[in-house]
């Protein structure tokens, strides 16, 4: 089905683009609606026919994976949901993959959010992933959700020296001192790795600047593809690795599936969305070529 779908989608899109190329050769501009139609097709056809590609993890993604892999079971991993629903389709596959990987390795998970919209996403993840796929994990012992606090970088400035100055309780109102997972945990400096998922402010960059670098705590991140170029200056010293956009998520998911047989059947939205992204990129490239052809033709006519 997948190969039939691939042929059909490539044929439709290829034939359409050829038609547009002919149009542009005659000096006619392509209407905006036609561009929208092609992007719609490029995104929806691979989803309908379930077109997927195999992924190979790049070093910047492998660095994060290997860090979580090499930590001994019981290590403390803090995962911060610094995003909202608008960014969720692109970065949620990353946070889900980090959740699964950390819990499968037996790490202790500390979930929080620097964005008000992140707290609901943490609750959804706890409900749909941890409780369903890891029923043996105990709240307060293996994982905890301390939720959102306003202040952004101000929150980081405080919890880098003392969690309890900012968080007296978890999201359910349970005293942090009553939770086994917080035994011996005073501040962010007691964490073995910090992971921030998000692409806005505050996000990965702020975690590096206000927590990872000053506290000398290994920090990794996942962000929307548009934000990734801004974070490269911190890699690999202040930022141990980075998942950029849906491609980064797909690479992480493929590595997870390769190394953990239990995740063979797990949902892989990252890998699934690489089909639409691949075709959409090809269509955008084709439109750039067509646009340039029509530009050069019109310039020649003018001169």
């Amino acid at each position: 089905m997948s190969s039939v779908g691939l042929i059909i989608s490539l044929f439709i899109i290829g034939a359409g683009l050829l038609w547009l190329l002919i149009l542009s050769l005659t000096g006619r501009e392509v209407e905006r609606r036609i561009v929208f139609l092609f992007i719609g097709l490029a995104v929806s056809v691979p989803l309908l026919f379930n077109i997927t590609f195999s992924e190979r993890a790049t070093p910047i993604v492998l660095d994060v994976f290997d860090k979580l892999e090499d930590l001994p079971p019981g290590s403390k991993v803090l995962l911060s949901y610094d995003y909202g629903p608008s960014m969720a389709p692109e970065v949620e596959p990353m946070s889900n993959a980090f959740l699964r990987h950390s819990l499968a390795k037996g790490h202790k998970l500390y979930l929080m959010a620097l964005w008000a919209t992140g707290q609901s996403l943490v609750a959804t993840a706890v409900d749909s992933i941890i409780k369903r796929e890891f029923p043996d994990k105990v709240y307060g012992e293996d994982y905890v959700n301390i939720g959102f606090k306003a202040g952004g970088t101000g929150v980081l400035n405080v919890i880098i020296t003392d969690f309890r100055k900012m968080y007296l309780t978890d999201v359910d109102g349970l005293d942090l001192d009553s939770l086994f997972i917080f035994d011996g945990v005073k501040s962010l400096r007691d964490m073995d790795v910090l992971i921030s998922i998000g692409g806005g402010f505050p996000g990965v960059k702020e975690w590096v600047l206000f927590a990872g670098a000053p506290g000398n705590i290994p920090t990794a991140g996942g962000c929307a593809a548009v934000s990734a170029p801004l974070l490269y200056p911190y890699y690999p010293r202040q930022l141990l690795g980075l998942l950029g956009g849906i491609k980064g998520a797909a690479e992480y998911e493929s590595e997870l599936k390769k190394r953990y047989p239990r995740f063979e059947t797990m949902p892989t939205p990252g890998i699934k969305m690489m089909g639409p992204q691949t075709l959409a990129h090809l269509v955008v490239m084709a439109f750039i070529v067509i646009g340039n052809i029509s530009y050069f033709i019109s310039r020649r006519k003018r001169s």
């Binding site: 707290q119 202040g151 170029p229 690489m274 990129h281």
Partner: protein, 224 residues
């Protein structure tokens, strides 16, 4: 008085925060100021809510163009506020987490806010494609370099980039599209980003000093 008090507060807080970074005994001062900031940040929500009501309330009252959208905005605001404040349908009651599964707040978040947010973001793909077609033209050498870099990144962010150039021998592996994309990100992009970041940092230092020393007063509504 209207100028002296804010300037004095700025000087004390700014100096305290600088000292807290460079002198460990002052670390707690920085922490305390950060806590003050976090408390003040909470009030930004009130400010935001008030501003939203003021803007949209006026539009509804005067029945300006598209006031219906404003009505939906205000209604949605109050509905979410009530669901969150009074923990409506929350299985754990008033003391439970506002985002508890089954609560009205979480239901509306998952089934209304989440898909709407994702839809808005997804629309970007269409506008990016349209803008690329109209604006991405090789008008001069600079634009052509940008165009080539964009092609490399666009292909490098897909598996096709790997398939298309996997035949290139390992000794020339840099020419494989995924490696070229990594090179673009870690060399030219990195150099540009670092230059911009260092420039911004220097600007921030200079502006901060001006604010702390009271040289910069435009934020108080004072012309220099």
């Amino acid at each position: 008085m209207r100028r002296t008090v804010p300037l004095t507060i700025t000087f004390i807080v700014g100096t305290g925060l600088i000292l807290s970074v460079f002198f460990p005994p002052f670390e707690t001062v920085g922490e305390d100021f950060s806590l003050f900031f976090d408390i003040i940040a909470v009030f930004a929500f009130f400010l935001g809510g008030g501003n939203l009501l003021r803007v949209h309330g006026t539009r509804i009252q005067k029945k300006r163009r598209d006031w219906g959208y404003s009505f939906i905005t205000v209604a949605g605001f109050f509905l979410m506020l009530a669901a969150g404040l009074f923990k409506l349908w929350n299985p754990g009651g008033i003391t439970a987490d506002v985002t508890a599964p089954g609560s009205l707040f979480q239901l509306m978040y998952n089934w209304v806010f989440n898909p709407l947010g994702a839809t808005m973001y997804a629309l970007l793909a269409f506008y990016v494609a349209s803008a690329s077609y109209r604006a991405f033209r090789a008008k001069n050498s600079d634009a052509t370099i940008l165009l080539v870099a964009a092609f490399i990144i666009l292909l490098g962010r897909t598996p096709l980039g790997f398939y298309a150039t996997s035949w290139i021998p390992d000794s020339f592996s840099l020419l494989q599209i995924p490696n070229l994309a990594i090179w673009v990100m870690t060399s030219p992009n990195l150099a540009g980003q670092r230059a911009i970041m260092i420039g911004i940092a220097l600007g921030v230092v200079s502006m901060s000093l001006r604010l702390i020393l009271g040289v910069e007063r435009t934020h108080l509504g004072v012309e220099e």
